[in-house]
């Protein structure tokens, strides 16, 4: 199969869905500019122009509401935020209206708006440009929330979202955009709620989503060299969450590390640990570990930023600790190392 970058996969899904369904349209601040949201909306703009790929005012709340309204009248708006941090301003519209619409009107009508939010570290983005709000959205019943790790999933889950009947939030880590992988040429939907074993292993399970799946895979490779076999579970979507793939893996390995780019408390790492405690507590041969940022906002300064963001090294350390292995292992290269400023 041909390879695409993660960004190209998103672009292709967008273009194909727009070709298939004239109701699909894209809106967001600067979606029409030369950078085209990290290259993900450029092709759509070039093909479909400003009537269907629409630059909007800096009004996140109204734009979310406008998208909901357009959806209520039959369109399929795809809203794009170059930083998911701006979505806090759209939170009311998404969790208090879109998420509840179908239910509170008695299962009549729907507003399946799709919202893409870009997250991820790089270049001292600091406290208000480094957050991953996936857990916040995933807490509220009525939304689907996904955070694909591979180009194929990035494409397939966007296709799924643009065809489904549920408002959806897609979280994309910008450090994934240049990663390549095989991607089907057709627009094939990848369902939500079905996780995958990204790498099989027997000693420790690492559960992750999005960029942390890659970090987990890098950690697993390193650990394999020390004789520790890690199973990496990519949940793909946070709501619905595939409890089964998590629990079956932990039942096999007896050890769980959860990796996340957002805080531990009340976050993804908490939920995964809870799923295990709820379903297969007896399988745990060691305490669960959460590998997440520390309890502070994100700093800007380079050494602090490096220390703040959890990565493969922290996962390696957590796994070794869980299996009681005391070997010193060399540090891994920074996953965001290639990234340069300014933005």
């Amino acid at each position: 199969m041909r390879e695409l970058t993660y960004a190209q996969a998103i672009s292709e899904a967008t273009v194909q869905c727009m070709a298939d369904d004239p109701a699909v349209l894209v809106l967001g601040e600067g979606v029409d500019d030369h950078k085209g949201t990290f290259g993900t909306t450029r092709e759509a703009f070039l093909r479909y122009g400003p009537g269907r790929v629409v630059d909007v005012p800096n009004s996140e709340n109204a734009c979310a509401g406008v998208a909901i309204g357009a959806a209520s009248a039959g369109l399929r708006p795809l809203v794009v935020h170059t930083r998911a941090d701006f979505m806090f301003l759209a939170l009311d519209a998404l969790v208090n209206l879109a998420a509840k619409w179908r239910y509170m009107y008695g299962d009549q009508g729907a507003v399946p708006v799709v919202t893409r939010g870009v997250v991820g570290r790089g270049w001292g983005q600091g406290a208000t440009h480094s957050q991953s709000p996936h857990a916040t959205f995933a807490h509220y019943a009525g939304l689907h929330v996904a955070a694909p790790a591979s180009p194929a999933d990035a494409k397939g889950m966007l296709v799924q979202a643009l065809r489904g009947g549920t408002p959806t939030v897609l979280i994309e880590n910008r450090n994934l955009y240049p990663r390549t992988g095989e991607v089907p040429a057709e627009a094939v939907a990848v369902p939500f709620g079905v996780g995958r074993i990204a790498r099989p292993g027997t000693d420790v399970t690492i559960v992750a989503a999005s960029l942390m799946v890659l970090e987990a895979e890098r950690a697993a490779e390193q650990l394999a060299a020390c004789g520790v076999e890690v199973e990496v579970v990519d949940v793909r979507s946070l709501r619905p969450l595939d409890d089964r793939v998590i629990c079956e893996s932990v039942a096999r390995t007896g050890r769980l590390v959860v990796a996340d780019t957002s805080w531990s408390r009340y976050g993804f790492a908490a939920e995964v640990a809870a799923v295990v405690a709820e379903n297969v507590p007896e399988a745990l041969r060691a305490p669960v570990r959460r590998v997440t940022p520390p309890d502070s906002p994100a700093p800007v300064s380079w050494p602090l930023e490096q220390a703040w963001h959890p990565g493969a090294d922290a996962l390696v350390a957590a796994c070794l600790d869980l299996v009681g292995h005391r070997a010193a292992v060399p540090a891994l290269a920074d996953v965001a190392a290639g990234f340069q400023g300014p933005y």
Partner: protein, 325 residues
């Protein structure tokens, strides 16, 4: 009922008034409608006058004060009363209550209780109409208080930039719960003027004069439909009863009995009847007949609602998620 457009306006106001008064009594006396309810008694003219300018295919989105626009747009009475009683037969299957009325069959697209939330939604529907060339218009009803939410200004701007076929119908009743306009907005700077400064054509209208409202709405709706862009109507009116619930609130301390009385004296139904009496000497008789008719209709609806089935708790989560692709 009548085929005369002027008397129809009176009829529609009388019906809403009769229905709401009956509902308010049951609400207070029986406590069987377990849903916070915002009556429009005394401010029926904005709903009736604006909806008279609409086609069935035009869509209406409202805030919490939803009964009057729902009925004015043609929403099913039984559906509403069953909904207030939390029944499976309600217009929202008992899931939404008074603040989440909906009737797709007549273009009542929904109401929501978070202030300002539906304002951009109506603009979004209008955007869909513009993009698809459907010729429809979207209308949103909201209060003076909702205009203080930032999303109101954001939406005015968005609608102006895209020249959307949306009409913003602001029912300015001078209160937000118990807070008067003076503590919330600077004196001398009206809502219409703010809309105009955002590039949205705006008009102030006597919101207790149903004919004036209709005239302004027809102009606004047809201009929006013809591609003239968004219009805001600031409709000055007044709520007689308490903010939420069936009672009067002379004793709550935030407004005087005199103030309420002065607005009761400006009752939109009475004023419309006064205006029509020279040409329609039978108008008082009609009002009496209609009041009786719709009072009976409301009693029937309540009786029927009480006999209607409750939702099945086994279906507690039905509709939380849509079908997958």
């Amino acid at each position: 009922m009548t085929g005369n457009p002027d008397t129809t306006l009176v009829h529609d106001m009388v019906r809403i008034r009769a229905v709401e008064e009956v509902l308010a009594d049951y609400y207070r006396d029986e406590q069987q409608m377990r849903t916070p309810t915002h009556f429009s008694i005394g401010q029926e003219a904005p709903s009736v006058g604006v909806c008279a300018a609409l086609r069935p295919t035009d869509l209406v989105y409202t805030g919490h004060r939803s009964h009057a626009p729902y009925l004015a747009k043609g929403g099913d009475l039984r559906g509403m009363v069953d909904e207030l009683h939390g029944r499976e037969t309600g217009c929202a299957k008992g899931r939404g209550g008074s603040i989440h009325l909906v009737d797709h069959s007549v273009g009542f697209a929904g109401s929501a209780a978070i202030l300002g939330e539906m304002i951009p939604v109506a603009a979004g529907a209008a955007w869909a109409f513009a993009l698809t060339g459907s010729g429809q218009v979207a209308v949103t009803f909201f209060g003076d208080g909702a205009t203080e939410e930032g999303v109101f200004a954001e939406t005015l701007n968005f609608a102006a930039v895209h020249a959307l076929p949306v009409v913003f119908a602001c029912e300015n009743n001078t209160y937000s719960i118990s807070s008067p306009l003076a503590t919330r907005q600077p004196a001398g700077f009206g809502i219409a003027a703010r809309a105009a400064a955002h590039g949205v054509r705006a008009r102030e209208v006597d919101g207790n004069d149903v004919f004036a409202v209709r005239e302004a709405a027809v102009e606004a709706v047809e201009s929006a439909r013809a591609g003239g862009g968004p219009v805001l109507l600031e409709l000055h009116t007044y709520r007689w009863r308490e903010h939420v619930g069936p009672g009067w609130d002379h004793d709550h301390g935030y407004r005087t009995a005199e103030e309420i009385d002065s607005w009761v004296a400006r009752c939109p139904i009475r004023r419309a009847a006064d205006a029509l009496r020279p040409t329609h000497p039978d108008i008082d008789a009609l009002v009496t007949t209609w009041t009786a008719e719709h009072t009976a209709e409301a009693h029937d609806a309540v009786r029927s609602a009480k006999a209607a089935p409750w939702p099945d708790p086994a279906e507690l989560t039905r509709g939380a998620y849509g079908p997958t692709a």
